[in-house]
């Protein structure tokens, strides 16, 4: 029995999505830019995908730029907005200490090219300080980028409040909603953002498909130039099957948003409470609320996440520490460090992220395995040996 509790890293594509993608790959293989019937068939699949993605987030179809990944969408939003405004004198960007690498590294790259970057802190529960954003805003601020939900903690950020501040200052507002789009109800108008990033493989769609909501009227410089696909914002022949898969996944996700979040929250809370009670000195990282329903991040006393991940995998339970992109290095999570966690607590943090396949039975199995493996590791660490 293998139990997957790493849905913030990726999710399995739904069978309907795989079927549609297979069909599109085989039958709608035309170039969507071509005039002839082959092209038109591909273009129709593309249009449908775009409408479905737009419907998921309350956007107009024309406001959705399809692209290859969440990372690409973040790059287009940040580089595109920065470069489009550079000649107006707005050369200041605001971001936070807990963003995904796709945003962090992009901001750092722009910083090396002369843009002024302000990184606002978070409190010890992993929530961005609205006051810090207010203080950071200046007349030359071009863009504020704050993630919607943190990928490691699940904490939801006060996007609507920050977006209102940004609007008042004449700056654009971007949010990386990769962890929320398709998982919790989300409306770009209610959030008041100008730019929003989503990624298909986080909501049971394929890898290789993402999107950037770009509010009508927002100017973006393209990061990829070429044949002017996606209204010139993202050149390159469209991977129609990927986009079609994303569109269907978005539509299927919409239908789950009434019940699934509450189901996952109940399971997540049970997992969290069970482990907090069963294993002494276990700590939850990040606020209990507000956060997405599927995520909990825990540190177990005296246990390094590296050993725990391996031990759990050998028991058939898949979890992760920090962001999967940073595995291979053993830097403590920048998110936990930004919250002021100790080095040891940060190195011991493990993320459990639930999803569609998580049942009560699967959760029971996982709780038993975590309890067993953590107890064994704590026994060895305290010199108990075998």
């Amino acid at each position: 029995m293998r139990i997957y509790l790493d849905h913030n890293a990726t999710t399995p594509p739904r069978p309907e999505v795989v079927d549609l993608m297979t069909r599109v790959l085989r039958d709608a293989w035309g170039n969507a830019s071509s005039v002839h019937a082959f092209g038109q068939q591909a273009k129709a699949a593309l249009d449908e995908a775009r409408s479905r993605v737009a419907a998921l987030i309350g956007a107009d179809t024309t406001e959705v730029v399809l692209c290859g990944s969440g990372t690409e969408s973040d790059n287009l939003a940040i580089r595109g907005a920065a470069e489009a405004q550079a000649d107006t004198g707005r050369r200041h960007l605001i971001t936070t200490a807990i963003e995904h690498e796709a945003v962090r590294a992009t901001m750092a790259a722009l910083g090396r090219r002369g843009f002024r970057i302000t990184t606002v802190p978070v409190d010890d529960s992993g929530i961005v300080s609205v006051d810090a954003v207010r203080d950071a805003l200046s007349p030359d601020t071009a863009l504020v980028s704050v993630m919607h939900a943190n990928n490691e903690l699940g904490t939801l950020q006060p996007i609507a409040e920050i977006a209102a501040l940004a609007r008042d200052a004449g700056a654009l507002m971007h949010t990386d909603a990769v962890q929320t789009a398709g998982r919790v109800p989300l409306d770009v108008r209610a959030l008041g953002v100008d730019l929003l990033t989503l990624s298909a493989h986080k909501f049971y769609g394929p890898k290789g498909a993402g999107a950037l909501f770009t509010r009508r009227g927002v100017r973006l410089a393209p990061t990829l130039t070429g044949g002017r696909q996606e209204r010139g914002r993202r050149s390159g022949t469209e991977p129609v099957a990927n986009y079609a898969g994303m569109g269907l996944a978005a539509e299927l996700a919409s239908a789950t948003l009434t019940d699934e979040p509450a189901r996952l929250a109940a399971l997540r809370d049970r997992l969290e409470q069970s482990l907090l009670h069963a294993l002494p000195d276990t700590l939850r990282n990040g606020a209990e609320s507000p956060r997405v329903p599927n995520t909990t991040n825990l540190s177990f006393a005296g246990v390094e996440s590296e050993s725990l991940l391996i031990g759990l995998d050998l028991e058939g339970v898949a979890v992760s520490s920090g962001s999967a992109c940073s595995s291979g290095t053993l830097e403590p999570s920048h998110v936990l460090r930004a919250m002021g966690c100790s080095h040891a607590r940060a190195l011991g943090s493990v993320r459990f992220s639930l999803g569609a396949s998580t049942t009560d039975a699967a959760l029971d199995h996982a709780i038993a395995a975590v309890t067993r493996v953590v107890s064994r590791l704590q026994g060895v660490a305290s010199g108990g040996g075998r």
Partner: protein
């Protein structure tokens, strides 16, 4: 039985793991990432084994045979123990032996603890050495069957507690047989060359490594004769090893060898080859496989570096953690910092660090 196998990506540990899996054990491969594996300049510094490519080789072996494999990060542990000791020893005018320290301070220390944490009953490695159990249940460490490849010299620090959990699955095999097994099992590493150098100094230029890592600790000084006559100057004692002849840059009528290094005075003493001969040595940090060493002289053979045929003589404990050895015939270049390992035939009695 769950067995963790330490996999470097070489043919020896790959075959060790594959043979255990073939015997039906629940094998878990662990590869230690020992130094930074970035794309930048750092990545160029290191890499004779345990590079990212080697770790990927280990992963491919695991996938081929069908057991789980993980890369674990030991960068700080390795840096704090093995690399720090390597630098400290050269700066102190001694000649370190990092592979022995890696076995005692990393593999059969933290890695063994990690293995226990994963529920493993044993930690296996690809060393050429053998473990024997006697009638009383005590463990004995012997040279590998393939004497040309024997690595027991690097494992002298293993005591009863470590040997109880250690496994050397290829200790009874010779290298050719190990490669035959690798071919039979279709392992991609079957023809991979043996690693020769110290893994974190792939170009073999130890002096340059020490200079790069500890530039503020260089000790320039004089090269003197046995009578104290200054014969030349040097840029740091870390550039010298007892027994060294090359690179002294001295003009003399007879070949000169490094006899002694005094780091405190930054003095390197040189002399003729015959002056290198020693009949006695003292070792510190001595560990005995059985747990206790001989208080009275007992006959034994002493191996004083990796490529040295153990020389006959006698050994005794001189103090807690200290031993002395008297050679039956004088030995050349008894080098401080190297390990001395005491043998009775093929059996390791114990060993320590030459003073």
């Amino acid at each position: 039985m769950r067995i963790v196998v330490a996999m470097s990506g070489g043919v020896d540990s790959s075959v060790a793991a594959a043979l255990l899996a073939e015997q039906g054990h629940d094998v878990v491969g662990l590869s230690m990432q020992l130094y930074p594996q970035g794309d930048g300049a750092d990545a160029q510094k290191y890499g004779a084994c345990c590079t990212l490519d080697d770790l990927h080789d280990a992963r491919r072996v695991a996938a081929r045979i069908g057991f789980p494999h993980y890369i674990i990060n030991f960068e700080s542990r390795f840096s704090d123990t093995v690399i720090r000791n390597f630098i400290d020893e050269y700066v102190a005018g001694r000649t370190p032996i990092p592979c022995a320290h890696c076995n005692s301070d990393v593999k059969f220390a933290e890695l063994l603890e990690r293995s226990r944490g994963l529920g493993a009953s044993a930690l296996a490695t690809g060393h050429y050495a053998r473990i024997r159990t006697d009638a009383e249940g005590r463990f004995h460490l012997h040279r590998g069957s393939d004497h040309a490849k024997d690595q027991s010299y690097f494992l002298f620090s293993l005591g009863q507690a470590q040997l109880a959990e250690a496994l050397f699955p290829i200790g009874e095999l010779d290298k050719a047989t190990v490669r035959d097994h690798a071919r039979r099992l279709g392992l991609q590493v079957a023809e991979k060359p043996d690693s020769q150098e110290i893994c974190f100094v792939p170009d073999g230029d130890y002096a340059a490594f020490v200079e790069r890592e500890a530039p503020s600790r260089m000790r320039p000084g004089a090269i003197v004769s046995r009578t104290g006559r200054v014969m030349g100057m040097h840029e740091g004692v870390h550039r010298f090893t007892v027994g060294q002849r090359k690179g002294l840059k001295l003009s003399a009528s007879e070949p000169l060898y490094v006899l002694k290094i005094d780091a405190a005075a930054a003095t390197v003493t040189v002399g003729p080859r015959e002056a290198l001969a020693e009949t006695h040595l003292t070792a510190t940090g001595v560990q005995w496989v059985s747990g206790t060493g001989p208080d009275a002289w007992r006959p034994a053979a002493a191996q004083i570096r990796h490529r040295h045929a153990a020389a006959e003589g006698r050994v005794r404990v001189s103090d807690e953690g200290t031993a002395e050895f008297e050679f039956a015939a004088p030995q050349s270049a008894v080098t401080p910092g190297q390990a001395v390992v005491f043998y009775d035939g093929d059996e390791v009695l114990g060993g320590g660090w030459i003073q």
